[in-house]
């Protein structure tokens, strides 16, 4: 085998990559091997057949691996491998018993050891409420210096990423950078999520995955991703979830690890909040604002008290609206997104009157919508 690089550390990284890509050695085994020895020694054990007592396939498969060219492909893809024991390996994972021995990342993985981390998770088919809450909390957490971790899926995940990217960028990078946990190898297209948001996260933050490159995101990658996320973070916040939503996997994993899980209360009529509401009933801490999350992280004393959230401002603060019709519509709208039909029924006014009030309010920047649903923004 040729040495591709002079640095010994990088050589170790190459062997860690090689270990992780031998499919007949499971992640649990990889972790055991790496806890006991450095990657090169572990690789030596595999190729010399010391593991063959259990599984003779390991050696055969390991011998067919070209460590150098394999590692070069990682370098080309810009993917960094961190193995347990190395400096870049996140401390939270070192503590977790079932964490993968090698994790892969693009961006700056070292920041995971610098910031407290909160996972914001939720359903893909979120309501405007869920999306708004996710992006708001994410932005506030990022500004407050808490790294927001989410799963790159559409819906709540995307809103959380967008919020944390925005918070990080708007705070002149003084807050916490964004983080994402991807399903499947990092060279694969993210499944369902937006490619742009992934690039945006990589620019300032980090995207991690437990899968080596070349592994496509399959059905079983998502539960794995959820577990990894739960192990990585210090607390989990579920923004919106259906009763049997995928976010429940993250919740279960976090609960097993004894990490705090918070849920954002939602309308009892909204199917997208059924899961979070039942989590609250089961004893998860309710998340009403940023300070609820900071308390769970025991950070409430360290940061200046959180700003009160933008809504519940009374109309008095903004000043009286021009006509009484608009105020009436605003009152009927409430703080939850509302369809035109609901408004018309509630106000018992002709459609055209309600529409013109809504258009006027939207011109004033007080409501948003027009695609069948309307919501109040201030």
């Amino acid at each position: 085998m040729k040495a591709s690089s002079s640095s010994g550390c990088i050589r170790e990284e190459a062997y860690a990559v090689a270990l992780a890509s031998v499919r007949s050695i499971g992640p649990k085994r990889v972790r055991e091997l790496l806890v006991g020895s450095c990657p090169s020694a572990a690789w030596e054990m595999v190729t010399s057949g010391q593991l063959d007592a259990d599984d003779p396939r390991c050696r055969r498969e390991a011998e067919s691996v070209d460590v150098d060219s394999l590692y070069r492909s990682y370098e080309e893809a810009g993917v960094i491998a961190s193995f347990i024991g190395s400096r870049s390996y996140p401390a939270t994972l070192e503590a977790a018993k079932h964490a993968p021995g090698v994790i892969f990342s693009t961006g700056d993985i070292s920041l995971l050891n610098k910031f407290p981390k909160v996972a914001i998770v939720g359903t893909r088919s979120a309501t405007r409420y869920g999306l708004g809450v996710a992006s708001q909390f994410a932005a506030e957490l990022a500004t407050a210096g808490v790294c927001v971790v989410s799963g790159l899926a559409e819906g709540v995940d995307t809103a959380a990423h967008e919020g944390s990217c925005g918070g990080w960028e708007n705070s002149n990078r003084s807050g916490a950078p964004p983080c994402a946990v991807a399903a499947g190898g990092l060279d694969q297209r993210s499944c369902g999520g937006d490619e742009r948001i992934r690039r945006r996260i990589t620019r300032g933050g980090v995207v991690v995955s437990g899968d080596p490159i070349g592994v496509p995101a399959a059905r079983w990658s998502f539960p794995k991703r959820c577990k990894l996320m739960a192990m990585l973070v210090d607390a989990v916040v579920v923004v919106e979830s259906h009763l049997q939503g995928g976010s429940m996997r993250t919740v279960d994993a976090a609960a097993q690890l004894g990490k705090p899980v918070g849920a954002v209360p939602g309308s009892i009529r909204s199917p997208a909040s059924a899961g979070t509401n039942s989590l609250l009933a089961d004893g998860c801490f309710p998340v009403r604002d940023l300070s609820d999350i900071l308390v769970a992280l025991s950070l409430d004393g360290l940061w200046p008290p959180a700003r009160p959230l933008t809504p519940p401002t009374s109309p008095m603060d903004i000043g009286e609206s021009k006509d009484s019709g608009s105020d009436e519509v605003l009152d009927a709208l409430g703080w939850e997104p509302c369809s035109l039909e609901e408004l018309v029924v509630h106000l018992d006014k002709p459609v055209s009157v309600v529409c013109s009030s809504l258009e006027r309010l939207s011109g004033e920047g007080r409501v948003r919508g027009g695609e069948g649903y309307w919501e109040r923004i201030r």
Binding site: S125, V345, V351, E359, G372
Partner: protein, 549 residues
């Protein structure tokens, strides 16, 4: 010896001794929805007994030999055991259908001397023969009567009303061949048309053809038994329906199963105003050509409502098929409503075939042999689910993947979607409202408002506001400054496309008409904008995620 033909249009040459007889009988055949004159020439001569039809007959015409023979024998009329040749002139036009049975039979009778040539002078014939000699309904009596020219047309008794629409006073009916023959001979008076007898018999035929113009039951109850008062709630949906009917705008309703899309759509026919005489004539012509039974009185006076199932083929919708080309559903819905339920389930190719007729108001069906133009001035009403699971318009209820939703949304191509003036998301009715059971406005109330609005558009020289051209919009739908500002803001933010701009203005004009307002105010534009919601994407989450971007 050479045959001798009378110099008249209708003529026969008798030469029983010379064994050579020719009869010429005028008739007509259908080309799409238009009649084309045909002369049936029957030649009876010596030779091996036989019967040949020439002149591009289709299978139906070729079979007429057996029907004509049986009918003649049943009526105790002679069938000459000679060589019979029937030519259908002009021979380059394809002839289809059984309507040529009667002229062939009359030609035979004249050529074989049973009927004197003068008895058939000035008469044209159209009709299908039964084996017992009855004369049966033929499709397209209106178009056929058009084509009969200056002659008096003899039609089946059941088609007298239809044919009289265009050639009143030049139509005679007969219900059996023997009745016709004795009338022609002068042995009996011409049978009189009795509408009650015909309509009684019609119930039977209707069952067999399985189709009748919706308006058969209609004059008293134009909604076909559906009343808007049955629709509970759905204030926005009802309003959209009213605006669509008042302005002839195309309407798409998007909602979960059970939200009442179909229920609403079925009720649009009832609130549309009656057809003008010209439109009624065109509709009757199309329906008659398609073989649909026309209502009592012949003329279809209420707008047709057609609702083909989503398994419909492209040809079924657009028209065409084997000879004679049949008008498709879009032509059948001309001057009325074409309702496509479960629009997402129609094949994309079928839906996109609607685009050109939607713009032009006609559809030209071209085949190698000929091109037929069918009118297609229809108003499109569509209904579909927002996504495969159907729950997309309810917040947070949809569990479809994004790709599944995108795939479903793509079933309606963007150009087709752009042609809808009104797109309304419907949600299921609130159970509270359903129980309270507050009855909404009835069809007759809404219809009165729609009628008034339509009268205002007629004052502008168009049938409905959907027909206003951009230039006319400047003239008739001038916007108040505030309203203009609102629309301009929407253009700037990209909420309304340049093409959508005119559509919004037309709809706003209609809403102002319903409001009996001369000018278009801000509230009218605001409502027009709201009723053109969910452009391109019906998904709540999807919209939200783009606004959060």
């Amino acid at each position: 010896m050479s045959p001798r033909v009378n110099g008249e249009f209708f003529g026969s040459s008798h030469s029983w001794n010379g064994e050579m007889m020719i009869a010429l009988v005028p008739s007509a055949t259908l080309l799409g929805t238009v009649g084309s004159p045909v002369t049936v020439e029957v030649h009876v001569s010596t030779g091996l007994p036989g019967f040949t039809v020439v002149g591009l007959p289709d299978a139906g015409v070729r079979e007429s030999r057996d029907r004509v023979r049986a009918a003649l024998l049943s009526c105790e009329l002679p069938w000459p055991s000679r060589r019979i040749t029937v030519n259908l002139a002009p021979c380059h036009v394809r002839k289809g259908g059984a309507g040529l049975d009667l002229p062939i039979a009359i030609g035979m009778l004249v050529a074989s001397g049973v009927l004197p040539a003068r008895s058939a002078k000035g008469l044209a014939f159209v009709g299908e023969l039964g084996l017992d000699g009855t004369i049966r309904h033929v499709p397209g009596a209106i178009a056929l009567a058009d084509a009969a020219g200056g002659t008096t047309l003899v039609v089946p008794m059941s088609d007298v009303e239809e044919a009289s629409i265009v050639r009143s006073g030049f139509v005679r009916g007969a219900s059996t061949l023997s009745e016709l023959v004795s009338a022609m001979k002068g042995d009996a008076p011409w049978p009189r048309y009795d509408s009650s007898l015909v309509h009684e018999g019609r119930g039977r035929t209707q069952l067999s053809t399985g189709e009748s113009s919706r308006s058969t039951s209609s004059d008293a109850d134009p909604g076909g038994g559906y009343d808007l008062a049955d629709v509970v709630g759905q204030r926005v949906g009802r309003r959209a329906l009213e605006v669509a009917a008042a302005g002839g705008h195309h309407l798409l309703m998007v909602g979960p199963p059970g939200s009442g899309k179909t229920m609403l759509a079925q009720r649009i026919a009832g609130i549309l105003p009656k057809l003008s005489h010209r439109d009624a004539l065109e509709v009757s012509r199309i329906h008659s050509a398609a073989g649909v039974r026309l209502p009592r009185g012949g003329l279809v006076s209420t707008p047709p409502f057609r609702a083909p199932h989503h398994s419909a083929s492209c040809v079924a919708l657009v028209g065409g098929g084997s000879w004679p080309m049949r008008p498709g559903e879009i032509s059948m819905a001309s001057h009325g409503v074409l309702f496509l339920d479960e629009m997402g389930e129609f094949p994309a190719s079928v839906l996109d075939a609607l685009r050109q007729p939607l713009e032009e108001g006609v559809v030209r069906v071209s085949r190698a042999r000929s091109t037929v133009e069918f009118p297609a001035h229809f108003q499109l009403v569509g209904a579909m689910n927002p996504c495969p699971c159907g729950e997309g318009v309810t917040q947070g209820a949809c569990r479809c993947t994004r790709s599944a939703r995108a795939r479903y949304a793509r079933r309606l191509s963007a150009p087709l979607l752009d042609r809808f003036d009104l797109v309304v998301p419907l949600t299921r009715v609130d159970p509270g409202e359903l129980v309270k059971g507050r009855v909404g406005e009835s069809t007759s109330d809404v219809a009165a408002r729609v009628r008034n609005a339509r009268e205002m558009s007629v004052g502008r020289g168009v049938k409905c506001n959907a027909e206003l051209k951009p230039g006319e919009l400047e003239e008739f739908a001038s916007l108040r400054p505030v309203a203009n500002g609102l629309l301009e803001r929407c253009l700037e933010t990209g909420r309304v496309s340049a093409r959508g701009f005119h559509r919004i203005r037309r709809v706003a004009r209609t809403i102002a008409d319903l409001d009996s307002s001369e000018t278009v105010e801000e509230r009218h534009v605001a409502e027009a904008l709201a009723l053109r919601a969910a452009r391109g994407s019906f998904m709540v989450g999807e919209l939200a995620s783009t606004t959060h971007g």
